[in-house]
Amino acid sequence: MDPLAPTPVDAARLRRLQVVGLACGFTAGAWLGAAEAPTKMVTLGISPVVISLMMVVGVFLARWSLPALLRGTAAIGDDVRQAPHLVVWAVLAGCLWAVANTLTIFAIKDIGLAIAFPLWNSNSLLGIVWGFVFFNELRGAGWARWAGVLGGALVMFAGAGLLATASSTQAPSGHAWRGVAAALAAGVLWGTMYIPYRKAYLTGMNPLSFVTFFSIGELAMMGAIAIGDRGGVVPLVAELGRARDVLFWLLCGGFVWVVGDLFQQYAAKYVGISRGIPLSNTNQLWGLAWGILVFGELKGAGTALPQVIAGSLCMAAGAVAIALATATAGEHRRWQDAARREGTRYGIDPAYTRAALSGEATGAPRGRRRWLDWSIMIAATAVFVGFAMVARVPELAVNGGALVGLVVASLALLGGSGYALWRVTGFN
């Protein structure tokens, strides 16, 4: 017997971690989908790149304040001391996200949402490939689990195509190949972005620490793209100034998105990227629910209804198939092998890596929040309040009942999954 072989995680604990990871994946879908709702309040003709930049500013504020609230900056500092090289990976992942997000804007403009969305949703298929090749995911999983994950992802891919076709409103602009290239490139970037995610979580970094540094790469890259797109800092600032009364809604969109993304990170950690990415891709279903039920989109589009129903059923069936194909103890041992390889390669304390993969706390017990944590939270809140004070509520017809229903459903998922995550892992 190999004396360095990792101790298998107790079967009951592994099952709990898998259930929590799946719940996080479904919650991520709900909140990532809900992030589109605040952006509907923006009806002015602002550049899409500027919209994306302001959402990233909201994301940045949330990604510094929520981790400070949940764990404190001292815990983030502990993580960095254990594995400082992962800061580079996090920044790299943030850059990948920002470029992908910008590419989707151009893809929608050139080929419309109907074709673009399924193309970049192919990221889940790429995630399965990277998970298998680099991180031992689905190794020794058996044909039934392979069929569940791969089949589920393919069914979701088909469902995404149907939903996108039904919800498409944009007309192609005549640059078809350019748009296809942009959408496919976005899918490749987003699918590859999960390599740093998985790397970090196998090594032992806490998702709340990882996203903190991720946001630096994201904001820097998005800022550079926006400055380049607008032709300099001065024109960019001028455009932001003209749109100041709607910037609050974009910040809110970014904040809601971060809540979803945090759950996505925990899903990637506890069920792997091959299962976590497709589950978070159910965000398309939630986005459509917000559009149809709250904002009255597709009203009178009777011919699209069968497509919406068929697409939704495909998405749901695919997600259920993936959820039922949880990792076995044998597959989890292969994850531990990959984690051990990472630890050896980068000289990480094996206890740190092992504890993180089991969802347990590492390092010193968490203390009280420091002045820095409160300063970050107060500063982020002040920015939101400041923008809220100059915000204008646009005249928009919304279905109040559906709005309340979706908010309650999203909060219930947040509360349920958040509580389970806290009970089982203590946000580790």
Binding site: W89, A93, C95, A100, L189, G347
Partner: protein, 35 residues
């Protein structure tokens, strides 16, 4: 060689590092092309 330098060297030798870097460069080139 200090631990930080060892980790940096390990990262530069790690093929998993170069995959996202190459994809990022490719993405920026596509973005430049379509703009």
């Amino acid at each position: 060689m200090g631990l930080a330098a060892q980790r940096l060297a390990a990262m530069l030798r790690d093929p998993q590092f170069w995959v996202p870097v190459a994809v990022l460069v490719g993405g920026l080139l596509v973005l430049q092309w379509i703009r």
